[in-house]
Structures are given as structure tokens and as C-alpha cells.
């Protein structure tokens, strides 16, 4: 078995591992480091449950090799809350707007929404729907997710204007 040494910054923390070269990023996170927020729903890049933020882009970590992530900075749902423990506006908005049910897609959905709102801080509902179209949800029918992301955007814009 050929192994590869990888170093990543995950949620602000520097981490290292020796992994089988074929190891996928999602397995590095979940199996090696017990970062189990990102989930596995399909292993074929369709469902988005494994979405993490890698160097400023949303990626589906089930089809990224750990070796490809070497040197990258990765954010998972575990790193979304603020350092003081207060929730990110998206986390709060998902709770306030009933944007989740079983919770399985939620970590990927939140991390995708986090990046999307940086790409488009003032989205229309239609743009939000396209923005999260790589993330599947079976429980909510999406309406309250769209509502939550829209509410978070408004909240973040108010906060930014105040700062």
C-alpha cells in the first residue's frame, strides 16, 4: 500500500496524516480525524452531504483525494460557529426558519450556503435555489432552506452595514 503524507488546515487547526494514497478527503476527515459533520450520501458527487469549503471553494469531499487537499485550508460545519461559540447567522437562520429536519444534509447545505453568500451577498430566492442545487435534501422540500439562507443574508448585510 502506497501512503502519502498530507498536511491540512482544518477549521483553523493544522493537521497531518499518513494515508493510503487513494484515501478520499471525506474519509480522511471522518475516519482518520473524527470530523463527522460532513456526511456521505452518495459517493458520486451528486448529493452534496459531504460538502466542505476548500481554499474558498465549495467542494464535494467524496470525490477529492486527501492528497489533492494537501496544503489546503478546509472548513467544515464544525468550524462555522464563531470563536466565542456564538452561532454563524446561517446556523441561527436554519434553526429559526425550520430549514432542516433529519439533519443529514444540513452540514453540507450550511457550508455551501456559507460560500454562496460570499459569492452573492444579496441573492434572490431563484439565485439561492441555483446556488444550492448541488445539495440534495429529502425532508424539507427546500422552501424553508431558501427562506433561511435569505434571512441569514439579510442578517449578515445588516451586521456588515453596522460595522
Amino acid at each position: 500500500m502506497q501512503t502519502t503524507k498530507v498536511s491540512l488546515t482544518v477549521n483553523g487547526k493544522e493537521m497531518e496524516a499518513d494515508v493510503d494514497s487513494r484515501t478520499l478527503l471525506i474519509h480522511l476527515l471522518r475516519e482518520h480525524w473524527n470530523i463527522t459533520g460532513p456526511h456521505i450520501g452518495c459517493e458520486t458527487t451528486h448529493c452534496g452531504a459531504c460538502t466542505v469549503d476548500m481554499d474558498g471553494k465549495s467542494v464535494k469531499s467524496c470525490t477529492v483525494l486527501a492528497a489533492q487537499a494537501d496544503g489546503a485550508s478546509v472548513l467544515t460545519v464544525e468550524g462555522l460557529a464563531n470563536a466565542d461559540g456564538s452561532l454563524h447567522p446561517l446556523q441561527q437562520a436554519f434553526m429559526d426558519n425550520h430549514g432542516l429536519q433529519c439533519g443529514f444534509c444540513t452540514p453540507g447545505m450550511l457550508i455551501r450556503a456559507y460560500r454562496f453568500l460570499q459569492e452573492n451577498p444579496n441573492p434572490t430566492d431563484e439565485e439561492i435555489r441555483w446556488g444550492i442545487s448541488g445539495n440534495l435534501c429529502r425532508c424539507t422540500g427546500y422552501q424553508n432552506i431558501v427562506k433561511a439562507i435569505s434571512a441569514a443574508a439579510a442578517q449578515m448585510n445588516v451586521k456588515e452595514a453596522a460595522e
Binding site: N34, I35, P38, A49, D96, L100, Q101, C102, T106, N135
Partner: protein, 808 residues
């Protein structure tokens, strides 16, 4: 002392009880990546299992060579049916009274059937090993078309039961591929109605094979403790106690040494009720190796092998008078159960609750006959946000009534109003003997029609047809009406049981702690429905302890009282009733303690939100919090200490939620593309516990109904290859395709339920599928279209337009 005493309203609000859109207590962990799903569980020394699956739909196994697999680094064992035979575990019982191969023995009966189980140190080596198990097959003719399963020369699917007189105790079989025939209603009366009818219609309405595909696939971690002989299984189980009992029945382990734990479940929709080979193999592997073994299926395995849904092919007939009063109903159904009958159903109902088929209508005579057949397809629970053939029955009826309306040139809403059971007829006994609890069906439909501007929509549609005929547009417009009555809350144990042994009651156990907080445990199991939030609301309204001070726990068979789990929209109707009644027992005991503390008789007390007060002297009072403490220190003589209650609730009847849905669709005739313009859903689920969560359930159910009617199919080709069993092919709607939903409600409490609730989770599936399908079919009605089968994908809709001569 300082602050002014809280008003009654303030005290009620503080409880966050029934009717409050309480925020979910599950959400903080799910939004911070701290959910605890099965695949998150990691035990010391844990191994991983992976299946070798059949590439063929039907083949004889000539040989299995494990050598190369066993030589793979990390692989510890390869198990086949030969290894299970000495344990008598190569077959397992199904919930339908059939047996299912755990690992294929002699023959494989469907593509991707489990053939061997590879146990390895990690999931990568397990997959490597599975690749290297060499299986030699001899291909056999597969039975794919259920309509030909009982042909004289049809290949026999199940050699193991080919001579069995009956399967699951459901009567004589007509053919080796026949499982059972089930009938309901009065055949003579129905035949007479048809003979005397002024008008009749007939249509074969198929509800295609599809799949619930929750975001989390099925998985488990089996952990056998050799020293103590104890087995713990963490798994994706919607009904953990049923799994424990099945495990006790098929293993030498006594039931008290088996502990089943369902942690957080990533969606179920009925896909996680059954017992699957992966669970059994993880358990066997843990017993063999002495360490924990995890099994996690991938998406393709889930779609192609674990619990399909539907596959019901229903020839419906209606008899009616010329002015549209339905006088008779008949249905002949072919049910494709795949290679094993693993249908999730109450033991006595092989076709589930299909007798709900008369729906919301006053139909005097009816008869239905269902034949279950074996084919070379995956077995399964047949559930998908509706487990008991209710959605199939309602879909058929809702298509047939539209077809009848078309024949009589009546409006679909008008014909429904003409045939609906009226409020004065409740409690209403259907021609099949079901007793509907309560409802005002015409009011629901009229409210829906008003909300969408029904008459104007019909005018717009008529104009569109004129414009189409005049060549001014290539787009048609369809209006789908669906009025449905559901049957949920299974169910009264005198008629309903599982595995022929345990009745479909459910349970709740409440303990109030000395400081006035409480824990309540249930036999149900949430998979996203937020039981931790809503059960606490029911209890808080009953016992006056704030919902935030009540912990709800489910899913651990060592601590939870025995229950049938969560499926068939039964948690609120059955578990919720157990919850309310357990609360009432607590309150009754609290009243005795309060009377003792206040030195009055029990009858002198009245309940006020969270406090017992002396009638006429309201300042003499004891709050539930004070009573809780006293229950552990100062109880009247003869009363035992503590404040606990257990309720096993066996419902006297099913509950019958209902609704009226209207869908408006625009159809591009040249491409077959459809666009949902509007979807309005009115639900009446009786008393509403948490409106926010009800609306969320309806949204989700509608999105699933949209997926089913517009795109989902698990199809097989002639060779028995499953077509489209990945998320590349199988249609899971994204946020882009999914329409906006408008929800509405009326409230007609259930008279036999302690708090009047009926359940709602499945309603949007049952009502949604016909609304979408009726809308698409309705677009073509004025141009001669009668019925086109689901799913209404663009190519199929285009084909339909082509058949009608609308496109070249």
C-alpha cells in the same frame, strides 16, 4: 414577592405546549455537526463489512472462490451462504411472513443481490476483497414483467417455496410465482352495480417502482460481547424493538441480551423499517470475529437492493349514473413484490390498507382483488412516506374519478363534491367496513378552490386550449385536483400486528424528577420528524411542566418501553396518544398529592395550566413543580412514592387525516417539459401540535410526491438489469426543480384520540402524487388524452402528445 404573578396566558405560553410553533430542540446539534448518525459511530477494534453482489438478475451459482479475496491485505473473512447454513441463518423471516435470503443460496434472484460478505480492517480493504471474490454463474431467464409472472411457461423465481401451499398465511397460490390473492368488499354487489350502471369507465393505472432514498443509506454497527453473551446493534432502524424481537427469534440469544440502538437517523420514509441482509451479516460477523463490525451500504446498493416502493399495477373501474354519482368501484391489481415478499405490513393485510380506495366518496358497492407476484427484482418494504398501499389506492381512485368526469364532461371538482361523504354522515362506515372518524370534505375542497381562484383558472385553461387549436400557443395548461382521505395510526391490535406476534400499540414512559423536570421515553423513533420537540409539547400541555424541562428519548430498546416504531404516520396518532395518557396518569397522581398537601379532598381541586387550586380559594394552590418534590418526600398514606407513569396505548381505531390539493402545471407540447406554476395544499390533520413542523412535513412530502410523479422510476430491462439506480439517473429534485408550496389547513379533531390529533407526515405523499399526475393528464383532457402513466418525464409527456397527434 417581587415580580407580578404571571398571567394565565403567560404561564400557558411558557409551557410551549400544543399549538405552539416551538423551535426544534434537535437543531443545535444538527447545525453544528454534532448529530450522532450510525456511520459516525466508531468502536475500538471495529471491522468493516462489504457485500459481493450479483451482476445478474437471475442465475445459478456454480461456485464461489474466496482465495484471492482472503489473500488481500486487511481482509479477515469471506462469508457465504454455506457458512450460514449450519447456523440456519441463510434465510431470515420478512415482516410479510415470507423468508428472504441473507446471502444467495444456489441461485441469485435479482441484480445486486447479496452473495458474499467480506470482513476487513477498514472499508477500503473490504471493498478490495469484495472485488476479488470469484463467483461463477449460469444465467437463467429472468421474470421481469409482473403481468407475465403467472404465465404457464414462466420461469420459477423461488425454487425454495415453489411447492408451498401459501406464503405468510394468506391463502392458496395459483402459480409458483404467485404469492397470494387478497380481496375485500362485496363482489356480487359490485358486479350488480356495474351491470346496472348507466356509465362505466376502466383504466389500467400503474404506480411505478420507485425508491424513498433517504439521504442516509442503511447501516449498522454490530457489537457482540462474547464474555457476557450480549449483542448491541446500533443501526438505522425505524422500529428498533421489532428488530430486537426478530433478532431474538432467529438467533440463540435471549431477548434480554439483545440491545438495539437507533441513534440519529438521516431520514427514513419507510426505507428503514425492514430487516436487511446487511444487518444480519454485521451481527454474524461480529459474533464470528468477536469484535464490532460496521456495515454501510452505498447509494447504488441502497437504490438497487434495499426496499423499493410501490410497483402496483391497478386496473380500476367506476360505475356511475349519467349525472356523475358513483354507484360502484372495482379494482384488479398486480403487485410486483420482487424476489421475496418483504413488504412492511400488518400481518393480516398483505395488500396493506388498500381498502381505503373508496377515498372521500360515498360509494355503495365495491370490490378489490390484489395478486402479489414474485419477479426477479429487489425485494422491499414498499414504503415511501406511506407504507400500507394507501398512496397507491388513492392514486388509482383520484385518476379514475377524473377519467369518469372526462367521460361525463363534468368538472373534476364538481364530480368530487357530488360524491363526497358529507359531514352529517360521520362517523361514516365505508363499503369496506372502515369507520372514518371525522371530517368536512366539501368545506376543504371549497376552501382550496377559492384560494387558488379555481373558476378563473378553468377559464384560462379553456382559452389556452382555444389558442392552442388556433396555433397561437404550443403550451397547454393542466389543473390537478386531489381530494384524499388517509388511513394512518396503525393500529388497533385486534386487527393489526407485526410478524404475527406483536400488536401495533405504542408506548410512553414518563418520570418526573424531584425538581420538576422530566424525562419521557417512547417506543417510536424519529427520523427527522422532531419527536424530541413535539412529544414534549403534548406532555407540557398535559402536566404543566414547560416543554423545555422535558427530555424526550427514543431508540434504545434497553431503556425505551416496547413500541412498534415510526412508520405509517403513526407516531402522533399512537405514540402521541400514549404520551397524553401517560401525562394524565401523572396528573391524576399529582392531584392526590396536591389534595394531601392542601388538606382538601381531590374533588375540591381544579387544574389551572400548571397548578392545582382549591375551588373557591385560588390562592391555596400547589404547582406541579411543588408536587413533584412532594412526590419524593410527602405523599398521602397508601400512595407509593415517586411521580412516574407508563402508558401502552392500543388505539380503538385508525385515524383519517384528509386534504384537498390543487396543482397548476404548464406543459410545453413540443418538448414535453412541464412547469409547476402553483401548488396549494390544504391539510386537516386534526389538532395541530406544532404548526411549523406540520408545514415542514407537508413541504417535504410534497417535494417527494413531486419527485415520484414527475421523474422517479426504478426500472428493469428485459435481462433483469436494474436501470437507473444511482443519483446520476434516479431523479431526486433539487431546489431548482422543486416548486413553491402554499400550505393551508382546517382543523377537525379526531374524536377517539386523547388530544384529537390524526398524523400528517404521509398526507402530502398520498394527496400530492395524484395532484401532480392529474394536472399533467388534465392538460391533455380537452384534446382527447385520457391517461398517461407516471413518471411524467419530458420524453413520456412528449410521447403522449405525439400519440394524441399534437406533435409531428
Amino acid at each position: 414577592m417581587n415580580a407580578k404573578a404571571a398571567s394565565k396566558k403567560e404561564r400557558e405560553d411558557a409551557l410551549e405546549g400544543i399549538g405552539c410553533s416551538r423551535k426544534r430542540v434537535e437543531d443545535p446539534r444538527f447545525t453544528q455537526g454534532k448529530g450522532n448518525y450510525v456511520d459516525d459511530i466508531k468502536l475500538p477494534g471495529m471491522l468493516h463489512g462489504d457485500f459481493v453482489r450479483s451482476p445478474y438478475g437471475h442465475a445459478r451459482i456454480k461456485s464461489i472462490n474466496k482465495e484471492a479475496a482472503l489473500a488481500t491485505p486487511g481482509v479477515l473473512a469471506v462469508l457465504t451462504a454455506e457458512d450460514l447454513i449450519p447456523l440456519n441463518l441463510h434465510y431470515m423471516p420478512t415482516l410479510a411472513g415470507d423468508v428472504q435470503a441473507v446471502l444467495a443460496h444456489e441461485k441469485v434472484l435479482f441484480q445486486n443481490q447479496e452473495v458474499a460478505f467480506v470482513v476487513a480492517e477498514d472499508r477500503y480493504s473490504a471493498a478490495d476483497g469484495a472485488e476479488l471474490v470469484e463467483v461463477e454463474y449460469e444465467e437463467l431467464d429472468p421474470v421481469v414483467n409482473p403481468f407475465h409472472a403467472m404465465d404457464k411457461d414462466a420461469t420459477i423465481v423461488r425454487e425454495d417455496v415453489k411447492d408451498a401451499k401459501e406464503i405468510g398465511g394468506h391463502g392458496p397460490r395459483k402459480h409458483p410465482n404467485h404469492i397470494w390473492n387478497w380481496q375485500a368488499g362485496d363482489k356480487d354487489a359490485a358486479d350488480k352495480a356495474f351491470k346496472e350502471a348507466e356509465v362505466t369507465v376502466e383504466e389500467m393505472v400503474s404506480y411505478q417502482r420507485c425508491h424513498a432514498s433517504p439521504m442516509e443509506t442503511a447501516c449498522c454497527v454490530a457489537d457482540f460481547d462474547k464474555i457476557n453473551g450480549e449483542l448491541t446493534v446500533h443501526g438505522t432502524f425505524q422500529a428498533p424493538h421489532v428488530v430486537r424481537t426478530v433478532a431474538a427469534l432467529i438467533s440463540p440469544l435471549p431477548e434480554h441480551k439483545i440491545r438495539i440502538i437507533s441513534p440519529d437517523i438521516g431520514g427514513g420514509f419507510g426505507n428503514k423499517v425492514g430487516v436487511y441482509p446487511g444487518y444480519i451479516m454485521a451481527i454474524v460477523a461480529s459474533i464470528v470475529t468477536g469484535v464490532p463490525v460496521k456495515w454501510v451500504e452505498d447509494r447504488i446498493e441502497n437504490l438497487s437492493a434495499t426496499a423499493f416502493a410501490r410497483d402496483y399495477h391497478m386496473t380500476g373501474e367506476l360505475a356511475a349514473t349519467k349525472d356523475g354519482k358513483i354507484t360502484g368501484l372495482r379494482a384488479n391489481v398486480i403487485a410486483d413484490h420482487g424476489a421475496f415478499d418483504a413488504c412492511v405490513s400488518a400481518s393480516k393485510f398483505p395488500a396493506g390498507l388498500f381498502m381505503i380506495v373508496s377515498n372521500s366518496y360515498d360509494i355503495p358497492a365495491a370490490h378489490v382483488s390484489v395478486d402479489g407476484v414474485y419477479t426477479n427484482k429487489a425485494p422491499g418494504g414498499v414504503a415511501y412516506r406511506c407504507s400500507l398501499r394507501v398512496t397507491e389506492a388513492i392514486y388509482m381512485m383520484e385518476r379514475m374519478i377524473d377519467i369518469l368526469a372526462q367521460k361525463l364532461d363534468m368538472d373534476p371538482a364538481e364530480i368530487r363534491l357530488k360524491n363526497m361523504i358529507t359531514p352529517a354522515q360521520f362517523p361514516y362506515t365505508t363499503t369496506f367496513g372502515l369507520q372514518y372518524d371525522s371530517g368536512d370534505y366539501p368545506a376543504a375542497l371549497k376552501k382550496a378552490m377559492k384560494a387558488v381562484g379555481y373558476d378563473d383558472l378553468r377559464k384560462e385553461q379553456a382559452q389556452r386550449v382555444e389558442d392552442f387549436k388556433a396555433g397561437k400557443t404550443r403550451e397547454l395548461m393542466g389543473i390537478g385536483v386531489s381530494t384524499f382521505t388517509e388511513i394512518v395510526g396503525a393500529g388497533p391490535s385486534r386487527v393489526c400486528d407485526l410478524i404475527g406476534l406483536v400488536g401495533t400499540f405504542d408506548s410512553c414512559e414518563v418520570r418526573v424528577h424531584p425538581t420538576g423536570a422530566a424525562i419521557a421515553r417512547f417506543g417510536t423513533k424519529s427520523q427527522g420528524q422532531a419527536h424530541e420537540t413535539t412529544y414534549a409539547q403534548i406532555l407540557s400541555s398535559e402536566i404543566g411542566i414547560p416543554a423545555s424541562d422535558i427530555l424526550i428519548e427514543e431508540g434504545d430498546t434497553d431503556t425505551a418501553p416496547y413500541g412498534m416504531g415510526t412508520w405509517g404516520s403513526r407516531s402522533t396518532p399512537v405514540g402521541g396518544a400514549a404520551c397524553a395518557n401517560a401525562g394524565r396518569k401523572i396528573k391524576a397522581k399529582a392531584q392526590k398529592i396536591a389534595a394531601h398537601l392542601l388538606e382538601v379532598s381531590e374533588d375540591d381541586l381544579e387544574w389551572d395550566v400548571d397548578t392545582f387550586r382549591v375551588k373557591g380559594a385560588p390562592s391555596k394552590a400547589k404547582t406541579m413543580k411543588e408536587i413533584a418534590l412532594a412526590s419524593y418526600s410527602n405523599v398521602p398514606e397508601g400512595l407509593e412514592m415517586g411521580l412516574e407513569a407508563v402508558e401502552y396505548y392500543d388505539p380503538p381505531n385508525f385515524t383519517f387525516p384528509y386534504g384537498a390539493y390543487i396543482c397548476v402545471v404548464d406543459v410545453d407540447v413540443d418538448t414535453g417539459e412541464t412547469k409547476i406554476r402553483k401548488f396549494y395544499a390544504l391539510d386537516d390533520c386534526g389538532t395541530r401540535i406544532n404548526p411549523m413542523i406540520i408545514e415542514g412535513q407537508v413541504h417535504g412530502g410534497l417535494a417527494e410526491a413531486f419527485g415520484i410523479s414527475m421523474g422517479q422510476i426504478i426500472d428493469y430491462d428485459e435481462a433483469g438489469n436494474v436501470v437507473g439506480a444511482s443519483f446520476m439517473d434516479y431523479f431526486i429534485p433539487t431546489a431548482v426543480e422543486t416548486p413553491e408550496w402554499t400550505t393551508d389547513h382546517t382543523v377537525t379533531p379526531c374524536p377517539h384520540h386523547p388530544i384529537g390529533a390524526k398524523g400528517v407526515g404521509e398526507s402530502p405523499n398520498v394527496g400530492g402524487v395524484p395532484a401532480f399526475s392529474n394536472a399533467v393528464n388534465d392538460a391533455f383532457t380537452a384534446l382527447g388524452g385520457v391517461h398517461t402513466q407516471m413518471p411524467h418525464t419530458a420524453p413520456r409527456v412528449w410521447e403522449h402528445a405525439k400519440e394524441l397527434g399534437l406533435v409531428a
